[in-house]
């Protein structure tokens, strides 16, 4: 009698759940604590950003944003992310591809290296470039002789940003590509597709969501990076100030409302990123469930190895 068995099983499970559950008092206390924490440390400051930005009214808010120096900072930020994000997409695809599909010496070394920017302090990352390309630095004299400016100029900011955002795309793609395996690509090859055709028609569509997710995170960080950029930028108003640097400068000039106005843009970017990230995670989880259902059948021993 399958019906009875199922009911019994359910009863057993319910009983065991009750057995491991805490009392309602503790449950609600913990939930409340978590919510309070979020409110005080996350929501309050965020709301405060917007409140402060609008403290002197809408007119002042708009004026702060349309101020030529702020506009220059916004433009520079957009440029920097427009250069560093595609670079990291290329790198991320190449790295994830080689890690997921090939076996080679030093693979774990490469994985560790990709994580390096996560473990290095951004300030150190910035200093690294100053030491390399600064006037007193390793390539400094040669660069100076050829009148190439890297440090205290836009190229330095781009370099520092690329370094900081290096892991985002690759980190997102590696697990997705590893999970997909290479059978679909091999199938495309047996059907006559070239390497390029396989990449565009099979590989890229199957990692689409992971890639977009990586790009979103990469972009958020590229626009928001402060430490590394601060070291290499030189803080030349209207020239090498990115949005985060502009926020700091305005704040130090006692223009709190102006600083928060620019900050509110970054906060909006963060909220947007969060929304897209949540959507993509939901979408990926759904695709994953489907993929699970698809390959839920027993994989029998393969005689390849």
């Amino acid at each position: 009698m399958p019906g009875t068995t199922r009911t019994n099983y359910r009863l057993v499970r319910r009983a065991s759940q009750r057995g491991t559950e805490e009392s309602p008092l503790i449950k609600w206390f913990l939930i409340l604590l978590a919510l309070m924490f979020c409110a005080v440390f996350l929501l309050l400051p965020l709301a405060n950003v917007f409140a402060q930005a609008l403290a002197k009214g809408w007119a002042y808010y708009l004026e702060s944003l349309t101020n030529p120096d702020s506009v220059a900072a916004i433009k520079l930020t957009l440029w920097v992310s427009a250069i560093s994000v595609p670079l990291n997409v290329l790198f991320g695809l190449a790295a994830a591809w080689s890690i997921a599909k090939f076996e080679f010496r030093g693979k774990s070394m490469l994985i560790t290296l990709i994580d390096l920017p996560f473990s290095v302090s951004p300030v150190v990352a910035g200093l690294m470039y100053v030491v390399l390309f600064g006037l007193q630095g390793f390539f400094g004299r040669w660069l100076d002789a050829h009148e190439i400016k890297i440090i205290f100029a836009v190229p330095g900011i781009v370099l520092a940003t690329v370094f900081i955002t290096f892991p985002f795309v690759a980190r997102e793609l590696i697990p997705v590509m590893q999970a997909t395996g290479s059978e679909q690509e091999q199938a495309a090859l047996t059907l006559g597709a070239s390497g390029w055709q396989t990449f565009w028609r099979v590989t890229l569509p199957s990692v689409k969501w992971g890639l977009i997710y990586g790009v979103i995170l990469c972009n958020a960080r590229a626009m928001g990076e402060f430490g590394a950029v601060s070291v290499v930028s030189g803080h030349i108003t209207g020239q090498t100030d990115t949005m985060p640097l502009r926020v700091e400068k305005l704040y130090n000039e006692y223009d709190a409302a102006g600083a928060f106005a620019v900050a509110s843009l970054l906060a909006l970017l963060a909220l947007l990123t969060l929304a897209i990230k949540t959507f993509l995670e939901w979408k990926q989880a759904r695709d994953y469930d489907r993929a699970q259902a698809e390959t839920g059948v027993l994989r029998l021993a393969d005689d390849q190895s």
């Binding site: 059978e183 679909q184 091999q186 199938a187 495309a188 090859l189 047996t190 059907l191 006559g192 597709a193 070239s194 055709q197 028609r201 099979v202 569509p205 199957s206 689409k208 489907r290 993929a291 259902a293 698809e294 390959t295 059948v297 027993l298 994989r299 029998l300 021993a301 393969d302 005689d303 390849q304 190895s305």
Partner: protein
């Protein structure tokens, strides 16, 4: 000859996955590559496809040496073990993939896909995605996709591995019918000897990268080339005899010494159907307890336990079992009608030996 392998060897690093394999597949044949896991059968299939490159030896497809041709140039259809359907494409797009790559004209492409959908009973599923299909449907899509560009050969890697037992049986029959209709030279890999016996025209048996035997299902069953094949195909009782007093013995059982001298060992094997069982204890020479009965359908398998603890597997029809009023734990008499001397694995086996006489009893007849 559609496909020919000449002395093909494949090494992965230091390990020989395939060693000196040669065989050929005539046009339109349905051939099975059979062997245990790690036998090298999938590697052979992938080498034919061009997914692996042989370390030594030559592969020919339709008389043309293909060693240096890429996968794309070989014009083969390959069905992967887990089908490897493009999960972001519909059934229609999956099947159309190869045709689009080969730049078929729109009208021809649609006509071809219509034809395949009909042939593979996939009509109405064109717009579905792989995750919306059943296991059997997925497999049919995978085969339709492989066949769409009209390949020279169809290669299938464990085609029935990923579906449950009932659908597996249907798919086997379906594959035979399909092959009969299309007449495409087909090679499939399997580790299931029953599947190979049932589906294939001829079977190539591999173990540890070596071709053990090539033959029709009947040939490999009735004339196994060596002990490995004898044990791998079908069920076989294998006994190790020791020659004492000019007779090969194990437990109560006695066999001729086959020229082995005193004290030497001898291995013999016999199929379950070679064991004759009777409920009449005076009928046959040996006695045993019927330990267990397995109901497999028309045929039953029984396990006989001899007083010495030796266990022998036998096979008998349901009718015979019923007529003799057999049941578990009953004492029966039995004899072995024919057996085979199993030589070392590498050497050929001598023909089967018929036991036409009852060797004179040497010791007590009753337990």
């Amino acid at each position: 000859m559609s496909i020919e392998l000449k002395n093909v060897t494949k090494k992965f690093g230091e390990v020989n996955a395939v060693t000196g394999v040669s065989f050929s597949v005539p046009d339109g044949e349905l051939m099975a590559l059979l062997g245990p896991s790690g036998g090298g059968k999938t590697t052979v299939l992938r080498m034919i496809a061009g997914l692996e490159v042989p370390t030594e030896g030559d592969i020919f497809i339709r008389g043309r040496r293909v060693n240096d041709l890429s996968v794309q140039q070989r014009n083969i259809g390959f069905v992967f073990q887990n089908y490897a359907l493009f999960k972001n494409m519909t059934v229609f797009k999956n099947i159309a993939f190869g045709l689009k790559i080969k730049k078929w004209k729109r009208a021809e492409l649609h006509a071809r896909i219509e034809e395949l959908l009909k042939l593979f009973d996939l009509q109405g599923l064109e717009k579905r995605y792989p995750h919306q299909l059943s296991g059997g449907q997925r497999q049919r899509v995978a085969i339709a996709r492989a066949l769409a560009p009209q390949p020279n050969v169809l290669l299938l890697d464990e085609p029935f591995g990923a579906v449950d037992a009932k659908i597996r049986q249907e798919l086997r029959e379906w594959l035979v019918t399909l092959h009969h209709d299309l007449n495409v030279t087909t090679i499939f890999v399997t580790h299931d000897q029953e599947e190979a016996m049932e589906v294939a025209d001829r079977i190539v048996i591999f173990s540890r990268g070596i071709l053990e035997q090539l033959g029709t299902p009947r040939e490999v069953y009735e004339q196994p080339a060596n002990e490995f094949v004898a044990r791998f195909i079908g069920v076989m009782n294998v006994l190790e005899l020791e020659v004492r007093g000019g007779v090969g013995r194990v437990g109560e059982l006695e066999f001729p010494a086959h020229g082995q001298s005193e004290g030497q060992k001898l291995r013999i094997g016999f199929r379950p159907y070679a064991v004759q069982i009777s409920s009449d204890l005076t009928q046959h020479r040996y006695h045993a307890i019927l330990r267990r009965t397995f109901f497999l359908g028309v045929m039953l398998r029984v396990e006989l336990e001899l007083p010495s603890g030796l266990v022998i597997r036998a096979r008998m029809s349901k009718e015979d079992y019923a007529a003799q009023a057999l049941e578990d734990a009953r004492e029966v008499s039995f004899q072995i009608r024919q057996y085979r001397v199993l030589a070392r694995e590498e050497t050929a086996l001598p023909p089967e030996t018929e036991l036409k006489y009852q060797p004179p009893p040497v010791y007590g007849e009753h337990i």
